[in-house]
């Protein structure tokens, strides 16, 4: 019982996060409702987690912000995974000059430290959820490209691939049938960590004011709004921070577990 509880526990925050994101329409009105008599109300009482500096319910704002973080994380990781895998497959399988050119491009993107390029892109393109997804994907795809390329380089030496080539199978079919199915495991593990990284990155960009714009709630912008009232109402900063931490921690734990599980299978 204890063991299986521990195993499934990280799924709970993720499930809640996804449910909150999918049902965020319910919370949208309450998240934006300004109640002057509720300004900086402490947790308990009228609203469970208290209210912010405009008297808006923090619980409903968390709920509404879950959609932003969920949509951005899913959007960025899918887009990056798709582009990165395609580039990695092409570079690794073809080798030669396409490999050289593509990897030089990857190197350039890797030369920007961490979140810096996303900050610059989002800052220049202007705020908004679309630009946020684009900026983070431009930074995100390179990791998957490198990983996929490395995998393809080793997989294409395997005997079943040589056999398929000897039988005259076209390159795209070899890639699709004999390489891609063996490639997904490490990519899925990487994508799980990628989701966690994107949740932090989205919140970070929103904290800097480069994400969605007010009155739309994002966990990152909630932290920024709360920072000025910390001494009176620490819950304004506490609540969104705990939400981010729980989601990221759970995703990292799931990623670790997936990696162990897939390692065992290989």
């Amino acid at each position: 019982m204890g063991e299986s509880m521990r195993r499934w526990l990280p799924l709970l925050p993720i499930l809640l996060w996804a449910l909150a994101a999918l049902s965020a329409d319910i919370a949208a009105d309450d998240a934006a409702r300004i109640q002057l008599q509720q300004i900086l109300a402490p947790p308990g009482g009228m609203s469970l987690l208290g209210c912010d500096d405009l008297g808006r319910s923090i619980l409903f704002r968390l709920w509404s912000g879950a959609r932003i973080s969920f949509v951005v994380a899913l959007g960025v990781v899918s887009l990056s995974l798709l582009v990165g895998t395609l580039v990695g497959l092409l570079a690794g399988y073809r080798g030669g000059w396409p490999d050289l050119v593509l990897m030089r491009i990857v190197d350039v993107f890797l030369a920007f430290p961490g979140i810096l390029l996303a900050i610059a892109l989002a800052g220049v393109m202007g705020p908004g959820i679309d630009n946020l997804i684009i900026a983070l994907s431009v930074v995100g795809w390179v990791g998957y490209a490198r990983l996929a390329r490395g995998q393809v380089l080793s997989l294409k030496q395997r005997e079943h691939v040589t056999a398929a080539r000897a039988l005259g199978m076209p390159g795209w079919r070899i890639l699709g049938w004999h390489i891609l199915p063996l490639l997904w495991a490490p990519l899925i593990v990487e994508a799980t960590f990628g989701l966690a990284g994107t949740v932090i990155a989205e919140a970070g960009l929103s904290y800097l004011g480069l994400g969605v714009q007010p009155p739309q709630a994002s966990w990152g912008s909630m932290i920024r709004d709360g920072a000025g009232y910390m001494l009176m109402t620490p819950h304004m900063v506490l609540a969104p921070g705990v939400a981010i931490m729980l989601v990221v921690l759970s995703l990292n734990l799931i990623g670790d577990r997936l990696r162990d599980w897939l390692d065992h299978r290989v």
Partner: protein
């Protein structure tokens, strides 16, 4: 060694050129006309023409690019639109603060990660191990723009030990350094643990134990010396995250470094300054990475011979 040096330097050169190109094109990503965005639509035509000329946007693209490169070679990054000062001068004023923050964060990360990782490896499966790895999981999940405010609340507002923000003496450096260093410490502690565990399983460690050496001597003289290379590699790789995280941390603590300059410039739509900040941080990262690679090759002949 000559071949390795050449290949590392060429790829560094390519990366540098790529970074400069991307940063140059950044201003062309501004939706619509950058001059409109910077001055607003109601600006006088004369002002618009002047700004367009000063940004070089009235020239053909190839000529703009040429001008940008030749400016770079003279360390001329253009003029700030708001402060009317050379961008290079603004950057130079901010460099010491960022360097100070990044090095302090690195020291904090090492001070936390080394003892925790070593203790976790030596007491594998025991309370210390669980504690250290719990810290590692938490540290990687707590964003610095949340840890920062929480530390401010605890140590500055409640206890009154440190200033809330700004750069004024050593006490003002403590909280930003912990904020920035914690996530690196989390990743490093894990790496120190697994790297040391691997080495502790090797034959030469068994031999050292069989000779009757004390556990302390086995670890300090035989195991640690062989465990540090993967840890150093990770530090090199994580330096990017450290520099990127410094931008956010500087904003949290109002730390007057390159990162807060970048965010100010973004808010003021001062694009030449944005370009300058991104360029400086990225090129620093490329050079440090290249130097680290060369240092490894010098330390470990296997790397340079494999090329």
């Amino acid at each position: 060694m000559g071949l390795f040096l050449l290949s590392r330097l060429t790829s560094a050169l390519f990366a540098t050129l790529g970074v400069v190109l991307l940063v140059f094109f950044l201003i062309h990503l501004v939706p619509g006309d950058p001059v409109d965005v910077m001055l607003g639509e109601s600006a006088q035509p004369a002002d618009r023409t002047a700004l367009r000329a000063s940004l070089g946007l009235d020239q053909p693209l190839a000529q703009q690019l040429g001008g940008y490169f030749s400016g770079l070679l003279r360390l001329d990054l253009g003029l700030s639109l708001h402060k009317r000062q050379p961008v290079s001068q603004l950057l130079a004023e901010r460099i010491p603060a960022t360097l100070e923050l990044a090095s302090a964060a690195l020291i904090v990360a090492l001070l936390l990660a080394l003892p925790l990782g070593i203790l976790a490896a030596l007491k594998r499966g025991q309370g210390w191990d669980w504690g250290a790895m719990g810290f590692s999981m938490l540290g990687a999940a707590i964003p610095n723009f949340w840890l920062g405010p929480m530390l401010i609340l605890l140590f500055s507002l409640w206890l009154g030990w440190t200033p809330v923000s700004g750069r004024d003496g050593v006490t003002s450096l403590i909280l930003p350094a912990i904020t920035l260093g914690t996530s690196l410490a989390a990743i490093l502690a894990r790496m120190v643990r697994s790297s040391l565990l691997e080495v502790l399983g090797e034959d030469f460690v068994r031999t050292a134990r069989a000779k009757g050496l004390s556990e302390w001597r086995v670890v300090s003289h035989h195991a640690l010396g062989n465990a540090w290379l993967p840890v150093l590699t990770l530090i090199g790789l994580q330096l990017g995250a450290l520099l990127g995280g410094a931008v956010v941390t500087e904003v949290v603590f109002d730390w007057p470094g390159i990162g807060s300059l970048l965010i100010e410039a973004i808010q003021q739509r001062d694009y030449p300054v944005v370009q300058g900040c991104v360029l400086l941080i990225s090129l620093t990262y490329v050079s440090v990475n290249t130097l680290t690679d060369l240092a490894y090759a010098w330390v470990d002949p296997r790397i340079r011979l494999d090329g």
